[in-house]
Symmetry: C2
């Protein structure tokens, strides 16, 4: 794993430069970290035979690298080593309901990370990466559930993607057509409709042995917000 | 717009064939339609200078085509005409908490659509496409809010992507390690933790003229589930 701390400002490269809606871009690494920390599902973009392929997958982030895993047989992971991928994490915060259709939109926080993933092959580092990934997706489960054995570890492909090259876009707040312009006085209700994602209540596996109670770390997740 | 109904079975192409986890694939067009109807945000994958770019954006679907829009200056939309894109729509339904970390996962419904988008340039068709997109993202707002004028229409790029080539993956239910295998009797709680996304309560724009009440079609969205 990388141990060098990354600079607090996100870099501006040809890929991460905000060409439009500049006001929505954030150059703060803290904004990136917050977006990555708030979720556990990303969309991984790879190029397979010249064609883009966008695959939803879980991730873990340790602040300097983002971990992705999958079967060693996976097409999307197999395509990744040696070539640049794009990983996008998006949280949708609500609808922006404006006075004109043109000004409609969504409030959101989104991060895009570009880079050439590094295959993690060292067994110890692989375990550490999977632990990081599990901590993000199912906190507390590492060590409560049985950790991967040697065979499972060999069947799992793990990729580490540096967080060096990333961009962030955020939109918050009410619509933009209420303070000036031809629609400001239009007699149309305008505002936002928040959207939230949250965990519900644990549902036991019907095959669960009787008398097995959920551990505190899982009960603590109930009702919690994601995103 | 395409008026020929699409066949009820999804096609199997080299890109949409399920190579792994075959049991999670669905070949039903109805499954695709349901996934697309349940949301309004997708991740658009395009190739820009050989690099994949994954951009979150809203969409509308009329059952035969999927509409995407954006500024005419947008890089991701500019890259699309003439080359294949991948549009992925994902709904995360919960965590799958197994007896072993290896069997952990998520319940989800995901659709991937591949194709070469068709730029919609005819003003009337463009209006119809934007109306479809608005109906999906902000139902009832078309005609309540002011519809796009000629200048706004010209500033909006609209792409139509055929739903012909698409694949669907779905995972539901409890973890897989409870009925057989070495972990079935492990004294570990196992099950699922559902995740839901829902609208909250309308929040008025601070710039809203006093006395303007939200219309019934917006009040009807409050508390509604997405995904």
């Amino acid at each position: 794993m990388r141990r060098t701390p990354l600079p607090p400002a996100l870099p501006t490269t040809d890929r991460t430069r905000h060409r439009r809606l500049r006001e929505q871009g954030s150059g703060e690494r803290a904004a990136l970290d917050a977006i990555l920390a708030a979720g556990f599902v990303c969309h991984l973009g790879v190029v397979v035979d010249g064609i883009p392929m966008v695959v939803p997958t879980v991730y873990g982030s340790d602040g300097t690298e983002l971990y992705l895993h999958g079967s060693v047989a996976s097409r999307s992971l197999a395509a990744s080593p040696g070539s640049t991928v794009c990983v996008t994490v998006t949280h949708i915060d609500g609808l922006v309901l404006a006075r004109s259709v043109f000004e409609h939109g969504v409030n959101y926080r989104s991060a895009m990370v570009y880079g050439v993933p590094r295959p993690v092959t060292d067994p110890e580092e692989k375990l550490a990466g999977l632990r990081c990934l599990t901590a993000q997706c199912a906190p507390g489960q590492w060590g409560y559930a049985r950790v991967p054995d040697r065979k499972e570890l060999a069947a799992t492909a793990l990729l580490a993607l540096s967080l060096e090259e990333a961009s962030v876009k955020i939109r918050t707040g009410p619509p933009d057509d209420g303070t000036s312009g031809p629609d400001a006085d239009r007699p149309v209700w305008a505002g936002t409709l928040p959207l939230t994602t949250a965990f519900g209540t644990l549902e036991a596996d019907p095959a669960l042995r009787e008398g097995t109670a959920p551990p505190p770390h899982l009960l603590a997740l109930e009702g919690g917000r994601v995103g």
